[in-house]
């Protein structure tokens, strides 16, 4: 399985929903504390096991998250540490990029999610406690959702209901929103510590998983959010990102500050079904491809991007 070395510390990796062999990686210099950033678009070469760089865009500040557009195959969105959201077009050279720079957030934009069902809008989660809704064609945000009491780390659209999304925040709660409603429709006081990530189950629209600084992943049913469906323990440090598999109903992949990427099946007794410890620093970004079953990618502060098939060793040749 090949490895790609980025010049800066990796922050996020996302597979393209149009091209099976394409993925985007967002990186930030100096661990994202202070410095430039770079957005890489990588391609998996079909013949030899190798990862090549198609194009890269430099940014003045770190890239904390990346999201591919679901409507335009060459457009991607980047969340920048200076509070801006930038749109890039891979069909244009770097000198003609970015297409747009949307500066509305007062603090770092930490999370992005593009609507996978309606495909026309995307959300940005920021450390200024708010979530903003955008479309590609408008220069300003459509709506701002301001209810959290602390940084919002992650947003996730519901894969079945195009108007519903969830936001995970440092105020230890997850809020469920409907864009048609003025405020949040549900508050899940999920953990006793900050919640860093959330994701919906792709096959059961009422199940949502949350990852927290308390090293656990909890799966909730929104119809009965007082008690979690299950609690997944196994990580040694805070869990940074989680993703439900687009192909398997019960599979979750997670990455953590304990430098491992773990696979879980939350419906069975012994939930941990796989553990990959290829990173030598915080594992900060992980993704599962929607087009290729079993294909996963991860990146971390050790400046490496790994792409491998589930069950194989990411470091194997």
């Amino acid at each position: 399985m090949p490895i790609f070395k980025t010049p800066f510390n990796g922050y996020s990796v996302k597979f393209s929903p149009f091209y099976e062999s394409r993925l985007a990686v967002g990186t930030a210099q100096n661990f994202g504390i202070l410095g430039n950033g770079r957005l890489h678009v990588l391609d998996l070469s079909p013949t030899s096991p190798a990862i090549t760089e198609l194009i890269a865009f430099d940014t003045a500040d770190g890239v904390y998250d990346v999201a591919w557009s679901e409507s335009h195959d060459s457009v991607l969105v980047a969340a920048i540490a200076d509070g801006s959201v930038k749109l890039y077009d891979t069909s244009l050279p770097p000198q003609s990029n970015p297409l747009r720079s949307l500066q509305e957030h007062a603090r770092e934009v930490h999370g992005l999610d593009y609507n996978p069902t309606r495909r026309d809008s995307f959300l940005s989660a920021s450390w200024d406690d708010s979530v903003k809704l955008w479309t590609l064609d408008r220069p300003t945000s459509i709506r701002t959702f301001r209810e959290h009491a602390y940084c919002v780390y992650s947003v996730a659209w519901n894969p079945k209901h195009a108007d519903v999304f969830a936001s995970a925040s440092g105020d230890c709660s997850v809020r469920i929103w409907d864009v048609r409603e003025p405020g949040s429709t549900m508050i899940i006081p999920g953990h006793q510590h900050e919640i860093l990530a959330c994701d919906w189950n792709k096959y059961d629209d009422c199940l949502i998983a949350t990852a927290s600084v308390d090293k656990s992943i909890k799966v909730w049913d929104v119809r009965n959010y007082r008690v979690p469906v299950t609690v997944l323990n196994g990580h040694g440090y805070a869990v940074r990102k989680i993703k439900f598999s687009p192909h398997r109903r019960n599979l979750i992949v997670s990455c953590s500050y304990d430098m491992t990427v773990c696979l879980w099946d939350f419906m069975i007794e012994d939930a941990l079904v796989g553990r990959y410890d290829h990173h030598t620093e915080f594992a900060v970004g992980v993704d599962m491809s929607v087009l290729v079953e079993g294909l996963m990618a991860s990146t971390g502060w050790d400046e490496h991007v790994y792409v491998w098939q589930q069950g194989m060793d990411p470091r194997a040749a």
């Binding site: 099976e20 409507s71 195959d73 792709k202 805070a238 500050y257 030598t280």
Partner: protein, 381 residues
Amino acid sequence: MREEQVQMAVMFLSHPSVKGSPIESRRSFLERKGLTSEEINEAFHRVPDGTSSVTSTGQGVNLNQGVQLQPQGMVPLSTASTGVASMLALSQRSRYSWSHVLFALAMLGASGAGTVLLLKKFFLPRLKCWIRNIVFEVEDDTERNSKASLCKESTEAAKVAAAAAVNSARASLEILNSRKDTRYFEAFIRHLDIQATELRSMSSALRKLEVAREAALFSYKQREHPSQLGSENGPNSKLLGTSVNDWKDPESSYSSLMKEEVKQNAVSAYDSSAKPSMLPASMEPSGGQHPKSYMEILAMIQRGEKPPGIKDINDSPPNPAQPLPNPRLAPRMKPWEIPQPQNSSSYALPQDSSQLNIENALPWWKRNKLLEQQRLNLTMG
């Protein structure tokens, strides 16, 4: 003779509870109210009263009107005194002086008890509160002063200890490099691990103090140097954001990086490539090409230095009116939108015996021997 006063007296004397009290008390009350004896006589004349029949059930509430405030303890006292007075009246109406004296004594005793109770209930607690507040204020002031000085002392002590530990780590690393002896390597690694844990705890304590200090400094700078806000906002906000928000356990990164640097230096010692710099990467002066550790970067920012390698990049859109490109591909359906059984894959794989050919046709990122084996087992079994 004032008609008004007489009327009042008549009303008073007509009251049923007054009717039960002895004449002397009624008279004395009216006298106290300032009525002349003429007016009193007139009132008595007007009110037909059976003064000779004095019932012992007289509950002379009017007696207590001399004492304005009525603590609970007064009522039984007053009833006792009225009981005594009525008993006296029962026995001998002509002994005015004796009953007068007794009545006066009883009144005095009642008022004395009343004032004592009043003092106990109202004044003393207030006095105590006031004294306590004063005492607390004095204590608080001294406490606050001591706390502030304690804070400063502890930060300085922690800094000195960290510097000392860093120096000792440096010294031990130098020793290792000079000796190049494998036998001492293990012991040295153990020693460094211990030091790393110690430094970890100290750094977390330092960090907490620094965050608090940063916050105070930031607000101070905001007041003093408003023009510098723009440049300072970025690092400080990120600093606070990173140190306070999600990196509750950056010790892992720090310790792992420490270990990595130790490994790197050990390897270099093994190779005896004789690098000119004997110090670990993080101890080198800025300007070197080695990657700096996370704590190093944080320390640099706190000192006000900019980490090296940051370029001035203009990432604003060159053409803000650049139109969005035309999509070249139609969006694909998501796997969960396609109604299909759960155990099948998203791409069709013909389950025939010529697996080898099909495997070779797949790119490496689609080839998964494990999944294919499982699928084979499913179809075969």
